[in-house]
Assembly symmetry: C2
Homo-oligomer: 589 residues x 2
Amino acid sequence: MTAAPLFLLRAELKKRGLDGFIVPRADEHQGEYVPASAARLAYLTGFTGSAGAAVVLADHAAVFVDGRYTLQVAAEVDPKLFAYLHLVEQPPHRWLAETLPAGARFGYDPWLHTPDQVEQLKQACAQAGATLVAVESNPLDAVWENRPATPLTPMVPHPDSFAGQSAAEKRALIAKELVARKSDAAFLSAPDSIGWLLNIRGNDVEFTPLPLSFALIHKDGSVDLFADGRKVPAETRAHLGADVRLHEPAALEAALKNFDGRKVRLDPASAPSWALDRLVEGGAVIDRAADPCLLPRACKNEVELNGTRAAHLRDGVALTKFLAWLSAEAPKGTVTELSATDKLEECRRGGNLYQGPSFATIAGAGPNGAIVHYRSSPATNRPLEPGQIFLIDSGGQYLDGTTDVTRTVAVGEAGAEEKQRFTLVLKGHIALARARFPAGTSGSQLDSLARKPLWDHGLDYDHGTGHGVGSYLSVHEGPQRIAKNNNSQALLPGMMLSDEPGYYKTGAYGIRIENLIVVQDMDTKSERPVRGFEVLTLAPIDLNLVDRDLLTEDEAEWLNDYHARVREKLSPLVDPTTAAWLVEATRAI
Amino acid sequence: MTAAPLFLLRAELKKRGLDGFIVPRADEHQGEYVPASAARLAYLTGFTGSAGAAVVLADHAAVFVDGRYTLQVAAEVDPKLFAYLHLVEQPPHRWLAETLPAGARFGYDPWLHTPDQVEQLKQACAQAGATLVAVESNPLDAVWENRPATPLTPMVPHPDSFAGQSAAEKRALIAKELVARKSDAAFLSAPDSIGWLLNIRGNDVEFTPLPLSFALIHKDGSVDLFADGRKVPAETRAHLGADVRLHEPAALEAALKNFDGRKVRLDPASAPSWALDRLVEGGAVIDRAADPCLLPRACKNEVELNGTRAAHLRDGVALTKFLAWLSAEAPKGTVTELSATDKLEECRRGGNLYQGPSFATIAGAGPNGAIVHYRSSPATNRPLEPGQIFLIDSGGQYLDGTTDVTRTVAVGEAGAEEKQRFTLVLKGHIALARARFPAGTSGSQLDSLARKPLWDHGLDYDHGTGHGVGSYLSVHEGPQRIAKNNNSQALLPGMMLSDEPGYYKTGAYGIRIENLIVVQDMDTKSERPVRGFEVLTLAPIDLNLVDRDLLTEDEAEWLNDYHARVREKLSPLVDPTTAAWLVEATRAI
């Protein structure tokens, strides 16, 4: 990485009378992926991780990343230019409160921060006796030479046969909630919400069919959609219909200023602060509340669930073909992380309705498996060696569903320690899959069930246990989540999540077992209505890594039942060689 | 309850040009107990529970209580005067946002609400188009005839031999933290913090030796203490020393306004909003952060822990004598909830350093046991009948420690359902007591371990699993807590908590098994430093209610080990009859 962007930014800040500036990873939509035109943090610092921020002051600069990226930041960012700080333990706002000189003018781009984040920055500046300044235009953009163009991929209709509900019905549903809360409109900035609401998909960022845009939904159910007209072909305009008015993005400012005295709902955790500022300027009363599409989007309807089940069947066929191939080829020593990744993609590519990977495959052999967010490259690519274990985490985007699955397999014979750790992870995986819990229980409350077998041995893993998953949308979606971090969202029927405990031994190996699961009502007649999970993913779990003596009878029964189901569903759909392998791979233990 | 207070308040509000007013249960110190002089909610509505609020508007009024008090509110509050609303599901601020007419002036007493609460009220009023008004004096107090006098009980020194650390050392510790955060002072309004910091105790409220007062601690370690001079005898003044300056409460306002340009720490979750307002008026920079005494107070030192262990030994002797007596007397049909309560108090009263109960004993026979916060009275008093189960939750304040223990016992032979439910509760109790978890784990993360055996059968309980406990201070103290509700405070060595899962069948019986436990480092050399619990409480768990077949070997071993320890510790300290009973009550199963 060159030092030029940092020097250019400092010069620009000086010109504008600013003593510092914050550059977050996020773009205006606060999503996990940003288009190249919004990869400001990577341009400034070289850091390409999926979360983080940089703060530039006149004399020093720092880059903030979380525990997943400790190794990566050191490989990508010059420590002479940026100090490395921990995003969670010492977030920018706390560091600023201690570091900013009194009287400083500190800038931020209101398009790239949520109102909640701006509030934190404001308090930090107040604590330091500094002033927080919203810039009119981004000073980094001003000096960014050869900045990539904003993407202009077309928005396409997502058929009702996949969505299970028409856009008109969805608009009516949200409008009803606005009326109930006495709101006149809601501002939407999350492209997956807009995609869900209007049954459209796009292709503006990698891996996720997001239609980057903004919208206002009104209490009459009509929508103002703000997107570059070149992104909306005639077919999509027809699909949107007359109740969805299309505007150029430049029209958003006037639209937001047009709510004098009326109430507009805005999500302070995801909207750009810029939108709040314009609404306030125009005299709107703000209803700070979650994006109204979040919950209906998260609770999949039966059509979506059936689509997802069908997608998982196809995905299971692909993954099982791959695992059978791997089991034959890997012991020969000819497979590498990258060739395995290519092979898996080749297996998926044949699948009906397949659109591409739902994220960059994580394929880690031996020690590379211990790097939680590893992405293999020609420089790091390792062969799969006998005696090692190999972790592969991948997923597919199908028009009828989004998949995400991790399997960890032994190449040849596995060591006793690896088997013990794998079995502990499996016990946690099973505990979550089998969990029964009363209505109202949140994902946070279930997280420790998956960790307990590891905790009992003084072990743990440094990531969440389960993330929400979309329906041909983001592979990571909220509001549900199973993690140590507080999350009070109750798990509701139809919510899809991952179940993915793991164990990582730095420099040695990594283990993760991931299935997707969906919340279901299990017993509505017991004293407390009971919920639990249906398992969606269909692929064998490597029995070569299971120490049967560490499983209880109940756990072994779960595993055998799961494998019987995998065998029964997939056998008719795979070639004879794979089918023969599958019988052995799913044998009862 | 008469309607007079409501009518008088409405007249007073009208006189002051207010369209409504909120009356919380809390006093200026936001504690669990309030002196009679601050029992405004009870005076206004009749409701005497430990949490809640009332909102009075011109045309309607509502009382807000949580699930614990659904029955009690109906017995105490006239539904023609106040609608009953759910404090958690429809809190006052949400109800106000929907109910207040636009243009209304809605009042609150800034002494009785925290800044966080005022922020919620402010947003609710904004949403309704109403104005929130801080009253200069409380309008309910203005019409409250025969209001009890403010308590003036003396503050007494709490000897270093119990506290384990001198007040001077504690003041230096907090001062060091203020310097580290560049704060000039911290405002303290929690009387347990002030009692901890200055090693003093008081007697202003029931059950808890709180010295009601306010304080400012400065970065030089000196303290301004605001308390009525009549409450501070000469011995206490000498104990406080020259670095603690005593002022009358009326001097607080000027003191808070005296920080122009300097930084003052204030806890927005517990301080009265009034104090924040005065600090802001005086030009102070506010450091919104938790009460700095919270964490050091919660992490008991070795002297406090040894005191607590000694107190639990004495408390165990008393409870075991009581349980032996009960086992002999109850089957005769002559024991009632109230006579049992008296007998237990009589058993405790003999104990060294005993000061009184740490809360009002909950003694529930049969169906009364299902009322979670039941308090027996002559009107509700029930005899303990053969075939029933009896729940008794009680605790003692000893100069060297605070206890809290619940035992549920069978009177005669218990039914199969009761035994099954009791054993499920016991399994959860044991799971928590035996839990091993990595450093950094919070109580919320452990809560489901205690519920899982019930969840597996479609059962649950509607209260937290564990609350923090003080050292000759509040029997309920933070910041640690084991509950469904989010609590991100890591469990740190020395933190005391209760372990009290339960099961309640309305109209039939209640079950709860409660021990106090303390967080300890269990293994600092494993891959992740491991923490766990030491059990403090010493008293038999009724084996007549245990279905051995439902326990795993590990669980039975825990129970047998626990009972062996109870027997070994208590046998030498009890009379021969009790000792003989104890041998049987703690037999291995």
